[in-house]
Symmetry: C2
């Protein structure tokens, strides 16, 4: 259910306005509660027009999520380009910083991602999550295999377990950073840049100690 030709033919500026309004509405309310009436009122266009651009609410949402995956793909690509052979732990530290930058630059897109992650009534939820997970499994899974081969991390842990542990901590950190509601005690939102950097370093350090090969 891609956007209709009518939407594609729109001037880029108007496309962007519509996308932005949709992203905000979905970010603030989730899929179900997001209101097309509110969106068109805010945009100053008729509801019928929206249906000239997209087949229905679901089509609009899928378009929005597609733009999100595009952004993630971009981010990962530049990530891979920057440090393909760096140490495992500096790589995941960089991934964490990349996540922070993403949230800073696209907070509403990140909120939509969280909505999809935790609301069950999102259309095609499984497929959407699958797409994103594929990125992250490929990325972290690849790093893990490489690091185990190089003796950087313990070899007695299956890669899915390593990925699980790394993702747990990184995701949770980003969730706390993005929304204070999920911050259970770090107070990330009000931390100074220096203290935030310290927190990042500490987290990576603990993962390093935890995942490095056991000393004899």
């Amino acid at each position: 259910m891609p956007p209709k030709g009518t939407y594609i033919n729109l001037p880029a500026a108007k496309q962007a306005r519509i996308l932005t309004a949709a992203v905000r509405e979905f970010a603030e309310n989730g899929y179900r509660r997001a209101s097309l009436n509110t969106m068109v009122k805010e945009l100053g266009i008729a509801k019928g027009s929206l249906y000239q651009y997209f087949v229905n609410k679901e089509g609009l949402f899928l378009y929005v999520f597609d733009r999100f995956t595009d952004l993630v793909k971009e981010m990962l690509a530049s990530q891979v380009k920057n440090g393909p052979s760096a140490n495992f732990f500096t790589q995941i530290q960089e991934a964490l910083w990349a996540g922070i930058r993403f949230i800073d630059s696209q907070p509403d897109f990140y909120r939509i991602y969280l909505r999809v992650l935790f609301e069950e009534e999102v259309p095609q939820r499984r497929a959407l999550l699958g797409k994103v997970r594929l990125f992250s499994m490929e990325y972290f899974g690849g790093l893990c295999a490489q690091a185990q081969a190089g003796g950087i991390i313990r070899q007695d842990l299956p890669c899915p377990m390593v990925v699980f542990l790394v993702e747990s901590v990184l995701d949770r950190f980003l969730q706390a950073y993005a929304s204070p509601d999920h911050d259970t005690g770090l107070g990330l939102a009000t931390l100074s840049a220096g203290d935030r950097e310290l927190a990042v370093v500490q987290i990576i350090d603990v993962l390093k100690s935890g995942l490095s090969p056991l000393r004899a």
Copy 2:
């Protein structure tokens, strides 16, 4: 907004039936989308009756969540009783097992908790989460302070950071266990009891290596 006297006067069996139906409806649909119409149809009572028992939808929901916190309190109490002075890492391992048992015995209550955690339109969300967080901060925070004093874990990490790391991993594990949608690769739902135990042990082991004092 506690239940009205009318509800309290109901035979215990009928109270239980209503509670169970409400828990299921909220677990399956979250607060907003949960339908009182569906509930009363399933219960075979009139909608007006529901409003004799509870002031409104919010009152019913708060009652349900209160029962959840009761269950959690119970669980924590028996946890503290069983092993007050055991090693930090065996304590958090036990906490993880307790979480697994809770999900096994009360899956719908756990789903409601996740809903509250990740849906923003839940009434009094902050207060509800605060209650639960208090339990966990007190429990894990206390364990951390004790463990740092005893030299069991690194003393250069602030306790909130330790709690954050432990909770990240434990919570994520339980989420994956409770709903395969959140399982990114461990396949917890289909693991044999033995493999699941192995996973638990590995996770605690990594946390142990990560949080133990650094060797000189």
